[in-house]
């Protein structure tokens, strides 16, 4: 059904109230983050890891908010609209098991070593564990390369969402027809991207890791609440939960593959190999930094237990909205625009539209801030301080260097977001996650295998990223791509990394006894 057939000309598209609501939300966010500045202790440790003072609730909210980005609200709804009900099993339920496993098996160990040996970044840990400075110079560009698509998801997702909300609705023009003629009155994606980047920059510049944790907590509460609000209002407009699902396309209620180019449903091998993708959280550098902010290991308990439930609270409503949309929106609707269109078309109340859109932006920004911050932290600690020595800089200079690097990354991300605006948010995310997941054998071997060697670590990184790059190129740099009967490329890149680590480590020089004792302490 074409939405133009049933949407009356209404005031929604021309009302600027949603934009005002979003502006108020951004103002509140900035105010809150600036308040956290009052607690800033002025040291680099406070800037990078909030002086390791974050408690259980804030850790849960910041870790959950960081792992859920545009991918969660916009991507899940869009993917459910395209592929159907299997979307939840593909990413959400497996993440409940595997994310929490990574927090438990990797996060607590890394936090312990971070606390004991004063680490601020992943690379500092790997350099000590594998007795090699060079491994840092190999890993740094790879981690930056993998974080950039993740950043792009956020900036592009925000742009698409605001375009959907402010664009023409049926015969009604967009909100700003005279100002933005080329987009039929919709706020262009590049302007939204610019505003989002500037807001995030403002608060991480002001308070660093602590501001990010405060802002993430606020944003996570907002996006969870707004997701539920959207769910309730949309289902209400569709005549209740039963009526809403009754009008969905039947092919989307099962996982059997159907449709042109097998675009609906989920092949079984794809479903199986997707299980590897949530392993990415074990290697996310921004998550590593959040782990290090924990006041004590006990702070992890709530995060480990509640994470699967928080995922369920966000993903079940979004997947259902995506299924309902199959009966309301035309088949070719871009996945990234589905949630915004469902809210805009069905709910119509401009204040609610503004609130829900603010929720989507909250999900996006709660990841962007941590990613920007971690890149600055890595560059400062793993490149600058490693090269020139810490004694050469004052704490203020260290923070300044981190900020300057963040600005350069923001500029690069912003330019790419304009060039790649038409890419699918979900597919880009999967490529980024696949790259990080491919590196998980490295961190797992570093923590649990005394026999993991420096050469094995190098081999693991090179093989995993080499295979990942091969498939990434074959996908046209970020499109949906499967290898054999729906098998995800991550199965190969992860396997290559794991095999290289095992085989090479077995035949190369073992780490020094002092290193083994340092990372495998006897209690």
């Amino acid at each position: 059904m074409n939405p133009e057939n049933f949407i009356p000309v209404n005031l929604l598209a021309t009302s600027t109230i949603p934009v005002v609501v979003i502006a108020i939300y951004l103002g509140l966010l900035l105010g809150l983050a600036m308040m956290s500045k009052l607690l800033f202790r002025g040291t680099s440790t406070d800037y990078f890891v909030a002086s390791r003072s974050i408690g259980p609730f804030m850790l849960l909210m910041s870790v959950f908010g960081t792992t859920m980005t545009a991918f969660a609200l916009v991507g899940s709804t869009g993917k459910a609209f395209e592929r159907g009900v299997g979307t939840y099993g593909l990413m959400a339920s497996s993440s409940g098991l595997i994310h929490a496993a990574c927090f438990f098996l990797i996060g607590i160990k890394l936090w312990s070593f971070g606390k004991k040996y004063g680490y601020v970044t992943q690379i500092q840990f790997f350099r000590d564990r594998f007795e090699s400075k060079a491994i840092g110079y190999l890993l740094f560009p790879i981690l930056v390369l993998l974080v950039i698509p993740y950043l792009l998801i956020g900036v592009i997702g925000a742009g698409k969402t605001i375009m959907g909300v402010t664009g023409p609705k049926g015969k009604a023009p967009g909100m700003f027809p005279e100002l933005f003629e080329s987009t039929s009155g919709a706020i262009p994606g590049e302007l939204t991207g610019l505003v989002i980047c500037l807001v995030v920059l403002c608060y991480i510049f002001a308070g660093g890791s602590r501001a990010a944790a405060w802002a993430n907590t606020f944003q996570t509460i907002v996006f969870m609440a707004m997701g539920l609000l959207a769910f309730y209002l949309i289902s209400d407009k569709l005549g209740g939960l039963g009526a809403a699902i009754a009008q969905a396309n039947d092919a989307h209620l099962v996982r059997d593959v159907s449709g042109p180019d097998d675009s609906v449903g989920v092949p079984k091998l794809m479903f199986l190999s997707y299980m590897l993708i949530p392993l990415s959280v074990g290697m996310f550098p921004h998550l590593f930094q959040h782990w290090l902010t924990a006041r004590s290991a006990k702070s992890f308990r709530l995060t480990v237990i509640a994470h699967p439930i928080c995922i369920m609270i966000v993903w079940v409503p979004c997947v259902l909205i995506g299924l309902w949309a199959t009966g309301k929106l035309p088949e070719g609707t871009p996945g990234g625009a589905v949630l915004a269109k469902m809210v805009g078309i069905l709910v119509k109340d401009p204040i609610v539209v503004g609130l829900v859109t603010a929720g989507i932006l909250a999900a996006i920004m709660s990841s962007l801030d941590s990613q920007f911050l971690c890149l600055g932290t890595m560059f400062t600690n793993d490149v600058v301080i490693d090269k020139f020595g810490k004694e050469r800089f004052t704490d203020k200079q260290i923070i300044l260097i981190a900020r300057l690097f963040v600005i350069s990354i923001v500029i690069i991300t912003y330019v790419f977001s304009i060039l790649l605006f038409k890419k699918s948010v979900f597919d880009l995310a999967i490529w980024s996650f696949s790259g990080f997941a491919s590196l998980t054998p490295l961190v797992f071997a570093a923590l649990y295998w005394k026999g993991a060697t420096k050469t094995g670590a190098f081999a693991s990184i090179i093989c995993a990223i080499g295979v990942w790059l091969y498939f990434f190129k074959a996908s046209g740099w970020g499109g949906e791509y499967t290898v054999y009967n729906g098998m995800m490329p991550v199965a190969f890149s992860f396997g290559a990394g794991a095999l290289a680590m095992i085989i090479v480590s077995l035949f190369t020089a073992k780490p020094a006894e002092s290193t083994v004792n340092k990372f495998f302490p006897k209690f």
């Binding site: 009900v85 409940g96 929490a100 699902i245 996982r255 079984k268 299980m275 290991a297 439930i309």
Partner: protein, 76 residues
């Protein structure tokens, strides 16, 4: 069998149960509004959460945490 091994075994069982081939083509609705494939995986999320409650209760790395939180730290 130690409690840690039981937790590991439960995690592996949960990993296998994720691949619910028996629900693939089932379009039945639970409670009249939720496709059974979605309902199953929502319950799976709850089961994962319960598993981690047990993991924290019976497999918490107490020695490691005590070691990290006590004694000398290299924190600058």
């Amino acid at each position: 069998m130690t409690s840690k091994k039981i937790i590991l075994a439960l995690a592996l069982v949960l990993g296998v149960l994720h691949h619910d081939t028996w629900n693939w083509g089932n379009s039945d609705l639970v409670l009249g509004f939720m496709p059974v494939g979605l309902f199953y995986h929502a319950c799976y999320s709850l089961a994962a959460s319960i598993l981690w409650v047990f993991a924290i209760k019976f497999a918490w790395p107490k020695d490691l945490v005590d070691w990290a939180e006590g004694g000398e730290s290299n924190e600058s």
